[in-house]
Amino acid sequence: MIGWKQIPPGMVILEAGSALKIKTGSWRAAYKPRWIEENCIQCLLCWLYCPDNAVKVEDGKRQDFDYEYCKGCGLCALECPGKKGNKAIVMEEEVR
């Protein structure tokens, strides 16, 4: 947090995307998603739908979750088509 004297006039924020400093992963209360790679068909729907950009994708390929930001909403797990009816994302109890 900076003091008001350091804030540019007009409350302009000069650093684009500075919200990344806020690690919203601490919001996860009860559940946490887990990726089951063998059931993943790489459709990337979880990447598109996640409201918190918490699904990492590199060079068009899904990677693991970004737990620094995942709020544990479960949307990705509900929408994941998985392979032959087996979900590639399951929600599990959060252990802190």
Binding site: M1, I2, I7, I13, E15, A16, G17, S18, A19, L20, K21, I22, K23, T24, W27, C43, L44, L45, W47, L48, Y49, C50, P51, D52, N53, A54, V57, D59, G60, D66, E68, Y69, K71, G72, C73, G74, L75, A77, L78, E79
Partner: protein, 323 residues
């Protein structure tokens, strides 16, 4: 080169709305913003938002989730603010001080669009500013505690039209803002929903290619205000479309086209029963309220199909004349 609208290619693009925002877990607003900005990925954009959940939660103190130039305007005037910016851009372009092809997008809540911001929106459209105005429609004033708006559907429970023994939620019909915007005679107006993301992104792309004023109304589930689970934003969006509660269509140069017709129209109960804001409708003795809602939806859907039909037959007539 135009980036194709497939997820593999889009995932290689920079996300211009970052994580770390403070919208509720499972809120559909950031997903809708992600889809808009991905569809616009080939352009530099300037965005304006009126006060509301998206604005408040994306720029707390010195932390912003935006990676594009973004302006917070007051609740009632995002369209006026953005039309000023667009005019300045045009002037600078004329003077040769800027040569980039920049797109201007307003992303505002339904309260800021249907109600308090309607006159500034109407003015900006009528003055023909080159901008796309998007309403992320969560059907109430969510940021201040779920008050009813012009977009709140009939019989929904909100804090200012509480369902009880006096009224069964909001007694009035919702305002059909998409039609009001089409009546401005602007070149492009559309309704979209995030569950049907290729349709949504195609509409954003199309809108950005058309010069002049454009308007899109995007269905945006809000689990906090609708009293639903945190994981079902996309499911509810799909049900809204499949029950014809939220038809997907566009009006291009006055021609109506329904962009998605459910193979089997689902009964409205399927959409209602998952949401706490409609829970009272399932109490015994209130069956006729659901039939009433069903009738309103059916009438609206039939009217829309008829409107589409009128234009389709006119197009055929034109073709015959050409032959």
């Amino acid at each position: 080169m135009v980036t194709p609208l497939n997820l593999k290619e889009l995932s290689k693009k920079e996300l211009r709305f970052t994580a770390g925002h403070r919208l509720c877990a499972g809120c559909a607003a950031p997903t809708v913003v992600k889809m808009i900005l991905l569809a616009a990925c080939d352009y530099p954009v300037v965005v304006a938002s009126s006060t509301g959940c998206l604005e408040v939660s994306s720029c707390i103190s010195t932390y912003t989730a935006w990676k594009v130039p973004w302006i917070h305007s007051a609740f009632e005037n995002a369209a006026a603010t953005l039309s000023g910016v667009e005019s300045m851009y045009k002037a600078l372009k004329k003077q040769g001080k800027i040569d980039k092809e920049i797109k201007f997008i307003a992303i505002c809540g339904d309260g800021g669009t249907y109600d308090i911001g309607l006159q500034s929106l109407s003015g900006a459209m009528e003055r023909w500013h080159d901008m796309l105005y998007v309403c992320y429609n969560n059907e109430a004033y969510m940021n201040t505690g779920i008050q009813r708006s012009g977009a709140t559907p009939t019989y929904a429970d909100t804090t200012t039209c509480p369902a009880g023994s006096v009224i069964p939620g909001k007694p009035q019909p919702r305002k059909d803002l998409t039609k009001i915007m089409a009546a401005h005679g602007i070149p492009y107006v559309a309704q979209a929903a995030p569950s049907h993301w290729p349709d949504l992104m195609k509409k954003v792309r199309k809108a950005l290619e058309i010069p002049g004023p454009k308007f899109m109304n995007i269905f945006t589930p809000c689990n906090r205000g609708w009293r639903t689970r945190t994981d079902d934003a996309i499911l509810l969006s799909r049900l809204a479309v499949d029950t014809c509660f939220w038809p997907l269509y566009e009006v291009e140069k006055g021609v109506v086209r329904v962009t998605y017709k459910p193979k089997e129209k689902k009964p409205i109960e399927e959409f209602l029963k998952l949401q706490g804001r409609f829970r009272h409708l399932f109490e015994p003795g209130r069956e006729q309220l659901i039939s009433e809602l069903q009738r309103m939806i059916d009438e609206n859907w039939e009217r829309l199909l008829k409107e589409e039909e009128i234009f389709a037959s006119k197009e055929e007539e034109k073709e015959e004349v050409v032959k």
